[in-house]
Subunit: 275 residues, 2 copies
């Protein structure tokens, strides 16, 4: 039976493409309205995996998903990077001249700002979703509307491509994580070369430096650090760390034990193969 | 002559309140449509100061302003923290029952989600600005509309308060920085006890740890670390650091010199008095 993989958005979303790229075999993708629904479906066990964007190479981290990673008991089982290429899509037979409004997620509109400014008569209009905006153009049948979404979304909703790869900066990649309910077997940890964890520091001098030293003294490379506010404790932060190595490696396991001495809160999010 | 202080938003914006709190004397506040306009006006010298939100205690950093701090030659001259308290505002004579839509910045709508869910007949509607949504309700004269903004905005636009401090979490503070064209005299640096800087690391092993060690070995506390993607270099980051002390202190100056050995890019953003 094909694995079920939940993603946020409509069919044709970049997250769905990321899921297909990661699994490279037949899967059943399940669209969800919100990121939180993806977490809930995976946690409850009705869906095997979830795929969630966590970072874009131009705009930075998707903080909502970082925050949800603390709240939900799940395990990061993998990651995948996807090149994001936006297309201007409209109903068949429609030409650029008759388009009045272009709908898409505000981030996609922003990434195509230069292209859109050149076509002066088109008004950029925020929509909740990229693939959703393509679906909306199909459903309304309105020839004055266009959408910015993936080529895949164009195919799914029977739209014509008026412009390909219209983003201003082509170094546009998104990194997605694959989540599952729990660590099923140790195989994935054995092959893993990347570990994600999150912690809150004790209120002691030099705490952040000390927390990073537990990795440095063991020659474990830091791949990424991200801070998020702690609700209810203004100007205090959770730190999200990606490090080189697997929690199955002795030196990583020792570093994490050592880290507990300078942290108030510590959660291992997962060990997996680096994309 | 009163100093001119630029802020993003309409009259009644939280940024304008932050400016008045910081200067505690008569100033002339100048509304600007976008953050970038504030930077440009200060850089060109037509306005003396700018006030910009950089961090909220619930939602985290305002990344747009972090990114603009690199692009513009300006100096951080101070900071101020403001308690954010949202109010539900409508035209005089209007009652809660007749409200159909509530307009505000999506972040303000999110911060009042619990309150709004209890009033089932009101539809939350995104608007570009908090104070701007109050101005819009006044201008349209539409009794079915309400806005979420500051009490100050309610007064300015002659609106009635239907609900006070309606935010779900009252630990809602925003930190603003005060920018000016350049360091005018050394006075502010002498009194300063906080320094902000931004850097990109050389591609050497343990670079992040080494960059933080230049402060740790001199007992200089790290107050905040924030990473932002570098455009055109996927998965590489700029690090924004707030540290204890002034760039006028010998040990801070030495640490910054030392930091240059492990960085490709380094910009001192300012030394100022901690709020």
């Amino acid at each position: 039976m094909a694995s079920k993989v939940a993603f946020q958005g409509e069919h044709g979303a970049y997250s769905q493409q990321a899921a297909n790229k990661f699994f490279a075999k037949k899967i059943e993708t399940v669209p969800c309205k919100e990121f939180e629904v993806v977490f809930n479906k995976v946690k409850s066990g009705v869906i095997d995996f979830g795929v969630l964007p966590v970072e874009n190479s131009l705009t930075g981290s998707i903080h909502k998903n970082y925050d949800l990673l603390i709240q939900h008991k799940i395990w990061i089982a993998g990651e995948v990077k996807l090149w994001i290429s936006h297309h201007l899509l409209a109903l068949p037979g429609v030409t650029l001249k008759s388009i009045e409004k272009v709908l898409s997620h505000p981030q996609a509109l922003g990434q195509c700002e230069g292209y859109l400014k050149k076509i002066k008569h088109i008004e950029p209009t925020p929509y909740f979703d990229t693939a959703g905006s393509a679906k909306f153009v199909q459903e309304t049948g309105d020839p004055s509307l266009a959408a910015i979404a993936s080529a895949e979304a164009g195919k799914i909703y029977g739209l014509k491509t008026l412009g390909s790869s219209i983003e201003d900066n082509q170094n546009n990649f998104t990194r997605f994580i694959i989540i599952r309910k729990s660590l099923k077997n140790n195989m994935s940890v054995k092959k893993a070369d990347k570990t994600s964890l999150v912690f809150a520091l004790k209120n002691i001098p030099g705490a952040l430096y000390k927390s990073l030293s537990v990795f440095a003294i063991r020659d474990i490379d830091l791949l990424k650090i991200e801070s998020r506010p702690i609700h209810g404790s203004p100007w205090k932060y959770m730190f999200y760390l990606d490090i080189n190595g697997s929690c199955g490696d002795e030196k990583v396991a020792k570093a994490i034990e050592h880290l507990k001495e300078v942290t108030d809160f510590l959660k291992l999010l997962g060990s997996y193969v680096r994309a």
